[in-house]
Symmetry: C2
Subunit: 319 residues, 2 copies
């Protein structure tokens, strides 16, 4: 089977690509090719068909979607902070790009492909219950969140029409992301662990009592593969699921970091409140019940310490 | 103030236009012009700026949106049956057209206009509770419904960004529509009353126990005006509301017609089941609790008999 990963040069996309390459199969079928679409790639893309291009460009999509494309992981997006700062850019990539991808898949794939779409906890906002659950209606308070919810509805209708077999996952904040800080409003959640472990200063844009609903890179890549491999009947007419996660405040994350790596490391965090970031993050929910996802076999991390230890192991960091 | 009505040549759009022309003011401001956009118009459009054109055409929208446009009623849509039969047409008009309208308003209006958008009970589908309420999450099972929900999310985000002040109404099935049957899957709900009252045969596509959540043309036009005139604070961060209605089965509607117009009239209904129509209608909900709309001052009809009597009066029908 041939696989397409949009955003395949990004942190999660690269990691998913490496995981699939190492597995060699998906859903019991041998993988015969993995195409990555992104604006930039890490240095080593051996074993992949890496295509540099824009999700919202029709010619690019026609190049990366082949008749044999049977599995698609749609991760590409303009992140939350950037889509809020540049409304037109977010609409063009996150809404038009997603629609164009679905249309191209519909027209160019020989058989309806399975499509895993990364939606987000940013779907939720406004007046929220203390604990969200599978019945909570999305009411996004960012353009990124609105664009993700619209993507979910498009995917659901394209699936209902039989053009594809779509599965949308609402991702918690992914912690710890490797690499550099990015324009996502959630960037602080990885930064307060990653930078101190690298011996670098981290300017934390939000207050210590800010809560985060989080999931590790390991678990989310497992969730991508699991979402693809579940039979269509497990989804039914509802093509979206809130992934399980764990809740931690910034203070709790720093306490866990201290237990794992010591007080000196935590000393690298300084407080530099950014009201624009805080205002976006404040609209995101912190606590969920996720019975549907758990029943479907998706798994959260056990605790923040293990999230930090996994990151240290994955990135071969010496502490 | 200048007003734009998309779908201003259609049944509800024409009726709203005549109501506004007769009022002469909206929200306490004198109306200085009413532009109607549609593909066709009734013979008499005196007093209106009637523009024939396509909602999804950028040049047309630039023509009908003026810097002084302060109130917009966005009614234009490819109806449910047609959007299901022609997926591309529905996506082009209902999704792209709506987005293009919002973008044109954003760019061309001197001040953020108030925008009333007609969404639909077709937003709901799939596994539903017996009685829906304000917390029920839309899960449309038609492309029309999906396109309407996407329009709601676009309107909400354009409103949150301050580009406009949007208000979306989820309309029950409108009964009794005057004129001819249309491609809406709900066409039967008016046809079983309208055709018999005209002494014409009506072939009913659905079974007698089919339930309908309905609202009269009088009440929905009142709702359009009320939705515009409510202060922004009445909407808050939630820019969509389920309008109140009443529930009746086809059998109950025919019983009411018999009480109003006699058994001979009802004899004009013959049963001609259409599985395609029945399948669409079956996904629509029939019973709602609408506390939010009632609290906001929206009003349902008292009963089916008064709906039929209003229709007879409005259309000057002799029985």
């Amino acid at each position: 089977m041939k696989i397409l990963i949009t955003g395949g040069g990004g942190f999660l996309g690269s990691r998913l690509a490496r995981t699939l390459r190492a597995r060699g199969e998906l859903g019991g079928k041998a993988i015969t090719g993995i195409t990555l679409l992104d604006g930039a790639f890490p240095p080593d893309t051996s074993g992949f068909n890496a295509v540099k291009g824009d999700l919202a460009d029709s010619a690019t999509l026609q190049k990366v979607v082949e008749p044999e494309t049977a599995a698609v992981f749609h991760l590409a997006a303009v992140v939350s902070g950037a889509a809020e700062a540049d409304f037109d850019l977010g609409m063009r990539v996150n809404l038009e790009g997603t629609r164009l991808l679905l249309e191209t898949l519909r027209r160019q794939c020989a058989r309806p492909p399975r499509v895993v779409f990364t939606s987000s906890v940013a779907a939720f906002g406004g007046e929220l219950p203390d604990v969200l659950d599978d019945a909570t209606t999305p009411r996004p308070q960012t353009s990124y969140g609105a664009q993700k919810v619209i993507g979910e509805y498009l995917l659901a209708d394209f699936s209902r029409k039989g053009f594809m077999d779509g599965r949308a996952l609402r991702l918690p904040t992914i912690v710890v992301r490797a690499g550099r800080p990015n324009a996502a409003a959630s960037s602080f959640a990885s930064g307060i662990i990653r930078e101190p472990l690298n011996g670098e200063l981290c300017e934390c844009a939000v207050s210590a009592d800010t809560g985060v609903w989080l999931l590790s890179p390991r678990r989310v890549v497992e969730a991508f593969v699991h979402a693809h491999e579940l039979p269509a009947g497990a989804w039914g007419t509802n093509r979206v699921v809130n992934l399980p996660g764990i809740t931690a405040t910034v203070a709790e994350m720093l306490a866990a970091l201290k237990r794992v790596a010591g007080a000196k490391v935590v000393g690298h965090v300084v407080w530099k409140p950014d009201e624009r970031i805080q205002a976006i993050v404040r609209t995101w929910p912190v606590r969920f019940r996720t019975p549907r996802a758990l029943q479907m076999g998706f798994k959260p991390d056990p605790d923040v310490e293990s999230v930090i230890r996994d990151y240290i192991a994955d990135e071969s960091i010496r502490i």
